[in-house]
């Protein structure tokens, strides 16, 4: 179809307008003879030109921010640096572009940077911090008077145990009853030292007497009485306490010499001996026997008073059956 053809459809006019190859053959002036076709052509041309210019204007407006894109393209093509610097540049450009395009990526990168920067600081503080010290030890409950090296076995109730309170009361009654108002005179009388008790009234009530002979004896008595406070279910504790009493009695014997408190001491030793026997402590018995000769009869006196004749008879029978009996016979029992 040529320009001189009057039966142009819009489709053909459009094709003629847009097809540069066709326009090379005919020009707009060729339509001068057909005013209607020319009008349609001009109308179409005007519309297309308006659309084209508006869309290109929009492209140009959007292209104001494309310098960065152009630089990236050129850096990858004609201006590509094939050395390691170029590789770094490409990588850096990629990172910059991606960071620029994504808020989430920027947040993640900032977080990573903070963590990496904080790492040497934390490492420094960990390096200079003092090493934690470790203490390994054992703590015993404060209410325990003794420390047990081995677990305590379960023992049956110890029988035939002298009650220190009963003993004290019995001894008091032997001294014509009653106690001295002050602890000092009371103890003296308890040990059968009536004359000293009469003189004691002249001494001040709060005199500390532990340093003298009576104090030693009193101390040993107190220790022996404390044996009753150790629970029966703790035989090792009681055994250790008894050992301590025996050593105190030995010390008393060495100090007292020919003191008139010796009878009192012998009574204590007898009491300790009885307790040692009831606890099955042969070592303690041997210690007492070696240090306190002739105390067996005195100890039996106490036993006779507290336990009765039957007990004394049984005790004597048992005594003869023990390995220590030959030694006792040698001591004159």
């Amino acid at each position: 179809m040529t320009a001189q053809d009057p039966n142009w459809r819009d489709e053909d006019l459009l094709a003629w307008l847009l097809d540069r190859e066709r326009q090379a053959e005919d020009s707009l002036a060729s339509f001068e003879g057909d005013s209607q076709t020319r009008e349609r052509l001009e109308d179409l041309d005007g519309f297309l030109t308006e659309c084209r210019s508006e869309l290109r204007e929009e492209s140009r407006a959007a292209g104001d921010g494309h310098e960065d894109l152009q630089q990236r393209i050129l850096a990858s093509t004609t201006r590509e640096d094939v050395s390691w610097r170029g590789d770094l540049g490409v990588f850096g450009g990629f990172l910059r572009h991606r960071l620029h395009a994504s808020v989430l990526l920027r947040v993640v990168a900032a977080s990573l940077l903070i963590h990496v920067a904080a790492l040497p600081v934390l490492a420094y503080f960990g390096w200079v911090a003092p090493e934690p010290t470790t203490h390994i030890g054992f703590e015993f409950p404060k209410d325990l008077p003794y420390r047990e090296a081995e677990p305590e076995p379960e023992f049956a109730d110890l029988s035939e145990e002298l009650d220190s309170a009963q003993e004290e009361a019995a001894l008091d009654s032997l001294l014509d009853g009653g106690h001295a108002d002050e602890l000092y005179r009371g103890h003296l009388r308890r040990f059968g030292l009536t004359e000293l008790a009469a003189q004691a009234g002249e001494l001040p009530a709060d005199t500390v007497i532990w340093a003298n002979d009576l104090g030693l004896v009193l101390r040993a008595e107190v220790l022996l009485n404390e044996l009753g406070a150790v629970p029966e279910g703790r035989p090792y504790a009681r055994s250790a306490h008894l050992d301590f009493v025996v050593s105190e009695l030995e010390a008393c014997l060495l100090r007292l010499g020919s003191s008139e408190l010796k009878p009192a001491l012998r009574r204590l030793a007898a009491s300790a001996w009885l307790r040692a026997h009831s606890m099955g402590r042969a070592q303690a018995v041997a210690e007492l026997e070696s240090r306190c000769p002739n105390w067996v009869s005195e100890g039996l006196q106490v036993g006779r008073f507290l336990k009765g004749e039957d007990w004394v008879s049984a005790f004597e029978r048992a005594l003869r059956e023990t390995p220590v009996f030959p030694k006792l016979e040698s001591l004159g029992y």
Binding site: L18, L55, E58, S59, A61, G63, A101
Partner: protein, 214 residues
């Protein structure tokens, strides 16, 4: 050979001759054109730039084996169209948000990027108001019509070039172009009519008289 870009010149031939200036001028002149081309096909801003970069890289790397046949611009848009098809295929295998269409990606990416040398938002809005009506009307056309219109009207490729580029007969190109122009005119006229109706419905403001005045 100078570095001024002209649509009748072939930068790849210049590259083969060892002169990169024409290619650089081509990049400077046409990078925004290709970006707009991809955006009008429904690609978001950021992805459009990636596609533009891919296209120019492919052109550059093709320089060694390039044999000119026809206009370079048609060849370049053929590369661009293939890049867009590859991208569409990749997208088709990825899960998409419910209700998200091709044009909505641009809406997502509007707030994603703000280059340092970008025009101010006011300037962007003003320009888009002027050219936006054509572009928004163009977005309502079918993909085939949109593509033919873009290549024939905006890029001024010949029907034969469009036919080879899109691998469709020339008659199809002609038919699609006709329908694209007709539909576009209809949409723009409807848009104008709707704007006029809206303006006519707005009541003029009347001054409020004080009560003590009769």
């Amino acid at each position: 050979m100078n570095g001024t870009w002209d649509s009748d010149r072939d930068p790849l031939v210049a590259l083969q001759a060892g002169d990169p200036a024409l290619f650089e001028a081509f990049v400077a002149a046409e990078s925004s054109t290709f970006a707009a081309f991809f955006r009008r096909l429904g690609v978001g801003q950021s992805e459009a730039e990636d596609l533009v970069q891919d296209v120019f890289l492919k052109l550059f790397r093709h320089a060694d084996t390039y044999q000119p046949s026809g206009r370079f611009q048609a060849f370049a848009f053929r590369i661009a169209r293939n890049a867009w098809i590859d991208r569409s295929r990749r997208r088709a295998t990825r899960p998409r948000l419910l209700g998200q269409g091709p044009g909505e990606e641009e809406q997502e990416e509007i707030f994603e990027r703000a280059p340092a040398n970008a025009p101010s938002p006011g300037q962007v809005v003003e320009r888009r108001e002027e050219a936006g009506r054509v572009e928004s009307a163009l977005a309502k056309l079918s993909e085939g019509q949109r593509l033919v219109f873009e290549l024939g009207v905006v890029q001024e490729l010949a029907y034969s070039e469009i036919s080879r580029l899109l691998e469709i007969p020339e008659g199809t190109v002609k038919s699609r172009m006709f329908h694209a122009v007709r539909n576009l005119r209809t949409l723009l006229e409807e848009n104008v009519k709707a704007s006029d109706d809206t303006a006519a419905r707005v009541e003029p403001l009347t001054p409020v008289r004080p009560r003590n005045q009769a």
